[in-house]
Amino acid sequence: MIDQPANEARLRRIWAWAAWIWLALVLALAVQQIQFWRTPKIDSDVLALLPGEQRDPLLAIAERQIVDAATRQVVVLVGSSDWDRTRAAAQAFDASLKQQSAKLKTPAGDAAAGAALEFYRPFRDRLLTSAQRTQLGSSDASELASHALSDLYGPMAGSGLSQWRADPLGLWPDWWQQRLGAGISLRDGLPSVSKDGVEWAILHFEADTPAFQLDGQAHLKNALDNATAKVRALSPDIHILRAGVPLHAEAAAVRANWEMNTIGWGSLLAVIVLMWLAFRGLRPVLLVSLSLLVGCAGGIAITVLVFGKVHLLTMVFGASLVGVAEDYGIHYFACRQGHRDLSSHGLMRFLLPGLVLALTTSALAYLALGLAPFPGLRQMAVFSASGLVVAFLTVACWFPWLDRGPRPISRFGMWIANSLDIWPRFRSNSVVAWSAAIALTIFTAIGLYRLEIHDDLRSLQNSPADLIAQQREVSQLLGLPSPAQFYLVSGASAEEVLRREETLKTKLDLLVTQGQLHGYSAVSDWVPSQARQRADAQLSARVEGQVLAQVSSALGENLQRPAFATTSLRLDDWLKHPVSQALRSRWLGEHDGRWASVLMLDGVGPASNLALFHQQAQAVPGVLWVDRTGEISTLLSHYRAMMGWLLLAGTVAVGLALLLRYRRLAWRALLPTLVAIVLSVAALGWLHEPFQLFSVLALLLLLGMGVDYGIFLVEHQGDGASWLAVSLGAASTWLAFGLLALSATPALHVFGLTMLFGVSLVWLLSPCFRPLAPVLIADAAMPVSSDAQLCEIEHA
């Protein structure tokens, strides 16, 4: 043993250095945090949580452009059984929005339509629908001429879009109709759709606000709600549906904001109340809160440093850290009560190895979450692990300096500490114990039998159910393109890409005819390949020339076909013109000598036969079928299995470590956690909660944290201070994950729920398996694993 005063002086010197260095770092952290929160780089896009596409850089560009294009569009459908009421309601809705908010704007309307018409007019002869192409190619010119004649003498007043001579077969309006979308038509200048006796008007808006706002207000939703209320006040039975990425993003942001605050502040409050009850002092409460604050700030800072930004769901998950990172402070104060003779520096010195071990196991458990290649999980892992380390360093470096003054112990603290003695104990000869074991086995068997496995991308989505329902209904009515399933078409030149699109489209047309697909949209709908344009121009010139000649001879007229553009419509001109605005994002341009575009499918849903779409891609060179939903579900399933094996391996490793140290007693430390893991899974089955990757991840974390409780109780048999620390830590962890279980994001919900069951079970079960009488661990190599043990030895 070193001389006590000299030792103490050396300790103080070391701690002084540590405290000052840490203060400098914390100040830097504070500066970083102030800058961060001024313009927070917070991501609320669910897709950002998903694994990035590595196999093809074009695919990454495609996804970014699709996401960018979708982030601003909001669609509102106003419907009633009668078009007049629908129109009036749509106009009232639009007016109400214009009046109350500048955040939702109406994109250019009438003038843009006129400009589009004039942009395409010179190329009218080169633009045919596939049905027209077949019809013109196969029909007899004299038959077409007789139709044209009867239409001329019929009640039709012309096509309205152009002179009769310029389009004698009325082809152009049908081409435009196809561009407008199947089932959609303009009525009184409003795009409209009619289904099941409801006449819908379609209103398009552009959201002019960032999706994430720190105020937690649903600006877009409120504006739309007000407009809806206005319209409903006029006629109560109007149907109103809304859809669009900004609405989901906003709902997610508002919800996450609320959850983050509930979990964070709720856990903090719990920690404060527990600390106050146990230690009856302002100092412990303030110091532990300080360690949590610095810990969370550190977590954010390091996550931003590593990833460049923080996802909203990471923040929600990270808020539960408050209930975990308080452990170090609590251990310090719990241990202090039993060791009044030690200076605060001395106490910390002796606590340190145990705390470091506890930190290491917890941080490793958290980091294991990041093994799956999901950026979201990696962020959560980095956030939690680094937050723990920072909270720990705050405790280690500062507590000895800041913790001065009396060390009272409360009656509540004593009561908890003493409760260990009267806690029920599992005895192999007890009827009650075996009855309980049998009951739990039955509970487990039924629970596991009922367990359902789901590896669904939707587990990451937290949109309100009614918004999802509305989105689905709007998608069905309008055939909105699916952002998660599309074709990537690439080629050596722009022309080749367009030609490949056209080849693919003839195959898709068949699927549309068979009812397997609602429709599709592609750049080549608007700018056909040069080859296609030339062929169509020749076809229409030939057939229309014949029709005009025959009609002329029948009527004694000399009808001349007016001249059209002599060159084809060029892709570059289209891209530069405002007419391409809505579809520009589908054209990816040239990257490393490859040109590419995205062809999107309308009305693809869970019921679609995706294998069929995959087959179409294989038949056309340069076409790649991308199914993000399927890919991610496969990944979720793959990593659920992989993490399951990791859990098993972890259990074996922990078991071996415990065996080395505790020999015959090892099972007492491990069994509570194993039972808790099995029971938690069974409980999920009972509650019809799906078993998925996030449940397994929670179990992994539970293994890392739960075994600690068993270790403490085996290590310090009958030590009330240790039990107090375990109990306080478990209570706040339990509450933090319980609050996380309230999350609207299914993944976080199931994570929180699994932890909620697991932590409470381990906490309840661990003392049941404590050894009967104190056993000296004489054969242990070094008593290193626990803080409290060190306190004890020093004390002795």
């Binding site: 001329l152 009640p155 309205g160 089932g183 959609i184 038509s185 009184d188 004694g556």
Partner: protein
Amino acid sequence: MNMKIFARVLLALLFALTACNAIAASPAAAVPGVGIRARLVDTPVLRGKFEQEKHLQGFRNPLLSKGDFLLARDRGVVWNTRSPFPSAVVLTKQRLLSRAADGSTRDLGGRGASPAVATANTLLMALLGGNVEMLGKQFDLSETLVADGSWTLVLVPKPGPLQKIFRRIELQGDRHVRSVRLEEVAGDRTDIRFLELRDAPVKLDGAEAKQFD
């Protein structure tokens, strides 16, 4: 974008006017057209002959056609051109199709154009109910009433999609609409005269009903 349909809407609208009701659903005295509405006879079915004269840009001669028509308030309109080329156009709630002399049909509604056909029909039905207010939403109306019971109604499209097609529409009539003139922005003009109008019997006979099928 399907502007072809607006021409058809107008067709439906004009026929509807021929059967406009004398009894106003709501007494809106300030609305132009009320005087005409009071003079028109309400009838569920109207039959008659027509003579149509079209002046199209690029054509030296007007296109003259003759035929008959049938209007049923709860079914739609059948427009039978008898000369020079026999053909029929049928507009019902669901569809708009052309029937050739040999009985073959062509769908003029186009792919998914049913809402537009429905628009035509809603207009038609609203007009059968004597709803001049609705006409007034799309057009500026000015009526001239003559003491002998005849009248003239001029419709000028309000700013909007119809304005891109029609410059002006003029109707003349007494108890029924007797003539229509459509003037298009593109310079085309159509004149239609109605003859031998009959509103009895008020029910379609079997042959008439069959034309809507």
